[in-house]
Amino acid sequence: MTTEGVVSKRPARRRFAGLFHGRPRLQVAALLAGPSAWLVVLYLGSLVVLLITAFWTVDALSGEVIQGFSFENIEALLNEPVYRTIVWRTVRTAILVTLTDAVIAFPIAFYMAKVASRRGKALLVIAVLMPLWSSYLVKVLAWRTMLSQDGVINWALNPLGLHGPGYGLTAVWLVLSYLWLPYMILPIYAGLERIPDSLISASEDLGAAPFTTFRRVIFPLAFPAVVAGSIFTFSLTLGDFITVRLVSNSQFIGTVIASSITNDLPFAAALALVPIVVMIAYLAVARKLGAFEHV
């Protein structure tokens, strides 16, 4: 057979492959050597170094990094009111964006999962996926031009005697909600798909009005999926600095990290620990709420 022919041409390869034959542990070790070198040594190692760097300082005169041990950065983060304000502003925006996305995403996901025809469903899935994958920066650019003084939003609102939000915190909230919306739609859609139709029919047959069915059956079952989606809207907002810079003058965790990385690397490292700590706390809460059980 052809396979025989291939092998006889490559005896060395066969000997090499023979080494692994019947040795599952060796196979696993060989398979994982590369990935773990990359992800454990390089990536996890980098996160550990980041943690250590947070305790370093910068020489005030020369600007050189001093690799000592000091709580200076952590203390500054905890004690200086300006950083508390920035962290709270970032977290508050993350909460607002998450709630906004949940409210917009739910009807879309519900329609996709339980109301649309087979064809409509397939079309909607693609319609949600495509913008998810089209350039992040381009979408921010779109909003930047739309929100500008001469932009389409003011053009549409002026005849009504109204004025758009312009650049600022409202713009950040609006644009981030826009950017992360598909990240919320998809998990909710997946969660709703898993609810058997028979459960909904049973509720209806037992005389529940559509709203009652929604409130007592569908929403409780879909809630973990909403929480799963919120992990992304929350995490992505915490780390963003590009959008914040493009549509506002506000300081967020991300903008402070980005601007301090060249002058004060240890402080940037200390600040980067904030999203990590917040995300760990968030994941713990999400787990309690059952976000990971049905997915």
Binding site: T3, A17, H21, V28, L32, G34, P35, S36, W38, L39, L42, Y43, L44, V49, I104, P107, I108, Y111, K114, V115, A127, L129, M130, L132, S134, S135, L137, V138, L141, A142, S148, D150, G151, V152, Y178, L181, Y183, M184, P187, A190, D197, E204, T213, A228, I231, S235, L238, G239, D240, F241, I242, L246, I257, A258, A269, A272, P275, L283, A291, F292
Partner: protein, 283 residues
């Protein structure tokens, strides 16, 4: 579900508003790319193709496009190798710490990009003494692209039974032959879909790139970001933006055709939530 006419109508209205919210900004960008005025004023006074030809003529656009393609291709190649190896190990073997592998693969996209960017840049410059360059960008991109390949291949391997591989081994095929003639053909399309998505992910990335790129280099997103603040360049930026959308949409559409796995295409982006959840719930 049985819905009243009014409820159905309200729901349709909600979906319509949501979809308009998603697509109107993209439409605005497309319209502005053909706008004849140098100022992005609404409504555009006239139409032109000038910005596209200017974009294609621009040396810096062509260079940054090339840099982006290089970075994307190299990162995808590394991710293909590492993601496939990890996927085979997890899907076809049982060993201590199997769940940890999935967790590790997902971590770079579960944490905010800024954390990955700062951590890697810090390690390169402070610990390894490497100066930032295109190479460090590729390392950064490969780190978060592994998950896309991994998810696609694991999904495929879970659907194809391991008994084919056992049969192949029983019939006397070596480990390599089994891989070459049984495992590989069954995951070929999953690899292609994963590679397309990994490339799209890298092509669009800006946050990790900002922290890991050398002073003299620009990827296309970095070019766009730097020129956004120059009013004179804005119409060209807009034309480039349209080109970027088209370049990133094509691989995603192809990947969607290639992989019909549920969540395959969303892996690494929205569907990542499902993976994070699965992994955290695993032990």
């Amino acid at each position: 579900m049985r819905l009243s006419r009014r409820a159905r109508g309200l729901l349709r209205f909600g979906v319509g508003v949501g979809m308009a919210f998603i697509y109107l900004p993209l439409l605005v960008i497309f319209i502005y790319a053909f706008n004849s005025s140098k100022i992005l004023k609404w409504p555009p006074p006239g139409w032109t193709f000038e910005w596209f030809s200017k974009a294609f003529e621009s040396e810096s656009v062509r260079e940054s496009l090339l840099t982006s393609v290089e970075a994307g291709a190299a990162a995808t190649a590394i991710a293909l190798l590492l993601g496939t190896l990890a996927a085979i190990a997890v899907a076809r073997h049982r060993f201590f710490g199997r769940e940890t592998v999935s967790f590790l693969v997902i971590l770079p996209i579960a944490l905010p990009g800024i954390v990955t960017g700062v951590a890697l840049s810090n390690t390169f410059t402070q610990v390894l003494g490497i100066s930032l360059s295109l190479l460090t960008v590729i390392v950064g991109h490969a780190t978060f692209c592994i998950v896309v390949i991994y998810n696609n291949v694991v999904a495929r391997l879970r659907r194809t039974s391991g008994s084919f591989e056992e049969a192949s081994a029983d019939l006397g095929a070596s480990t390599w032959q089994t891989f070459r003639f049984v495992t590989f053909p069954s995951m070929k399309t999953a690899l292609a879909a994963g590679a397309l998505l990994a490339f799209a992910l890298s092509f669009d990335e800006i946050i990790v790139t900002t922290f890991t790129i050398g002073a003299g280099e620009e990827t296309l997103p970095i070019w766009i970001f730097r020129n956004l603040f120059r009013p004179k360049e804005l119409p060209i930026v807009d034309a480039v933006a349209v080109i970027v959308i088209l370049i990133s949409i094509v691989p995603v559409y192809l990947a969607h055709r290639l992989s019909q796995e549920s969540g395959g295409i969303a892996a690494g982006k929205g569907g990542g939530a499902a993976e994070v959840a699965e992994v955290t719930a695993a032990p």
